[in-house]
Amino acid sequence: MGFDALTLGFSLIFDPYNLFLILCGVLIGVMVGALPGLSSPMAVALLLPFTVGLEPIPAISMLAALYCAGTFGGSITAILINAPGAPPAVATAFDGYPMAKNGEAGRALGLAAVSSVIGGVFSLLVFLVATPLLAKVALEFKPPEYFALAIFALSMLAAISGKSSIRNLIAGGIGVLIGTAGIHLTTGVERFTFGIPEISDGIHFVPVLIGLFAMGELLTQSQTLDKTLERISSVVIKLPSREDYRKIKWTILRSCGIGTFIGILPAEGSTVAAIMGYNEAKRFSKEPEKFGSGAIEGIAGPEAANNAAAGGAMVPTLALGIPGSGTTAVILAAFIMHGLRPGPHLLNETPQFVYAIFFAMLFANLMFFAIGLGGAKIFSRITLIPRTLLWPSVFVFSMVGAYSYSSSVFDIWVMLIAGIVGFIMNRHGFGAAPLVMGLILGKLVEESLSQSMIIYDNNWLRLFESPIVVLFFVLTFISLFWPLIKQIWSKAKT
């Protein structure tokens, strides 16, 4: 049964057309990753409308490939111009750029490529094993458990990512609230439609996602137009030597574990994983003083961790329907757009689906490795595209992408408003990722809570009858009050 699904998943992906789409996803991912300001969630959001006409598996495979490659792509500019193309590559710049300045750019890129692919493949193996297992456990979940799980996911995102848990929770709440607009399914009552017929079906999340990730960033970029970037040119990528491998093998292995674990937790996986990977690499290093001036473990640690987080983040997304990161939240939106709701039932009925995604991401890792080795020099030139043309192009794609979702100018307005509001919210510390997560999980939260209340006859306390609900609520409490718990713990220790 499992092997059949595995071979079926392989055959679904090992098709010239699907491989071509994965290659497209990888190329776009590396390009987007390499361009400072453009991020994986933004690219996935912009690519969503292109996938409307595709079958679900090729569509999701393409987006997943973009996700993997985008995480790696960020390291190119982090190393060459000290401007991480994507947030997960922030830690790579700490040692990557000093290495590049010392004339070792090729070696640094080689280390990044090798560490990334090892991290990516490791997490995919975990994904292959953990997803069906987690889905099996989740088969027992009923509405109260789903409600508690969704609340835990929102609380994790609030606790781990961004600068303020309260602001993240508010953003998540706003996202869920936006999700309530439209006709209430049970009663048929219109909520927050303000007499606008286009809102009756609810506010489509694709324009909101595009607005938050692309338009918000466009406005942020408009503030930094006078910034100049120093660029290291003439790069010939070099694979790590045997001595390098000897030095980084434990760092990579440790980061693979950290990255995959952080990725599985519902939060902004890759960035947090990369920083933790870097810190742990430094902590375990025999020469921690070299960090910051070109230590090779300082590249291997974050790169293995951030790519491992990409695979890890797909585990809760597919097994539970709860996104593991901002990008997987957008990928989850793609599932919903294609009429699918990831979770245990989908995996139980179509297990080949998870295997197809596994193979797509595996091929994506191998492709970006080859592309990274062969084309780093070309991709580093991408940053030469003037921002005065790049961002208007992003606006054009955003406009057309938002419009094409349902051929409605109203959606362009939604995208624009989301972008402007997102820009202002971002300035005040409210992240886009929690809002998106709230928006996507909104329906699940409302339906599961309403159903639970009906089941328990409006008695909140009966929610605690289920041990799984209690477990999730305890985890939610811990995640929200973790800084306080840590403080009390360290005080008690001293």
Binding site: S164, L177, T186, P392, F423
Partner: protein, 187 residues
């Protein structure tokens, strides 16, 4: 070894960004966040009022969970959380300091003009169609952002928007509104 990307923004105002570090009164109450709270509570109050205007439904249909129940629960949650904002800096000093740093500089006028330009373009789609909107963005936004190199701007305007339009109409079969004075592209 190192080459430098040219500065591309004569349009961006130089002074404003770094002009005012905006001391936001970080005593017991954080005043910027207090205003933020007032704004959020006001919006929530209005949204709560909107929920009172939802159509009434028979309790047989709602099973005690009316259409307003969940939005109200959320509104209350958001209000309670936002009431904590003015005091958040007392517990998480460094994080709020970092948020203060992000918002200390005023929004540059170039960003305001960019937002206004985007609004204008979208407003004009009904007149000039989606392709017209794309072309206007490709002309106006680079010019606003200080791009004056016609040898790259002209080919960009001539090639990029029609290519995107053709990709969407011919490959993805999206119908683009021609607008009142715009051009219809076959869908």
């Amino acid at each position: 070894m190192a080459d430098t990307e040219p500065a591309e923004n004569p349009a961006g105002d130089s002074g404003q960004g770094s002009a005012s570090p905006a001391p936001s009164g970080r005593g017991f109450v954080h005043f910027t966040d207090l205003w933020l709270t007032v704004l959020i509570v006001a919006v929530c109050g209005w949204l709560y009022y909107v929920t009172t205007q939802f159509d009434e439904v028979s309790s047989l249909l709602t099973q005690n969970i009316g259409p307003e129940w969940f939005p109200r629960l959320l509104i209350w949650t958001i209000v309670v959380l936002s009431l904590l904002l003015p005091f958040e800096h007392l517990a998480r000093g460094s994080q709020t300091a970092s948020i203060d740093e992000d918002r200390s500089s005023r929004i540059k006028s170039i960003s305001v003009f960019t937002a206004l330009l985007m609004i204008c373009v979208v407003s004009m789609i009904h007149l000039f169609g989606t392709l017209g909107g794309m072309i206007s963005v490709c002309i106006a936004l680079p010019l606003l952002w200080g791009e004056r190199r016609m040898k790259i701007l002209v080919p960009y305007v001539l090639i990029f928007p029609p290519t995107v339009a053709l990709l969407f109409t011919k490959v993805l079969k999206v119908y683009f509104e021609p607008g009142l004075f715009g051009v219809a592209i076959g869908g």
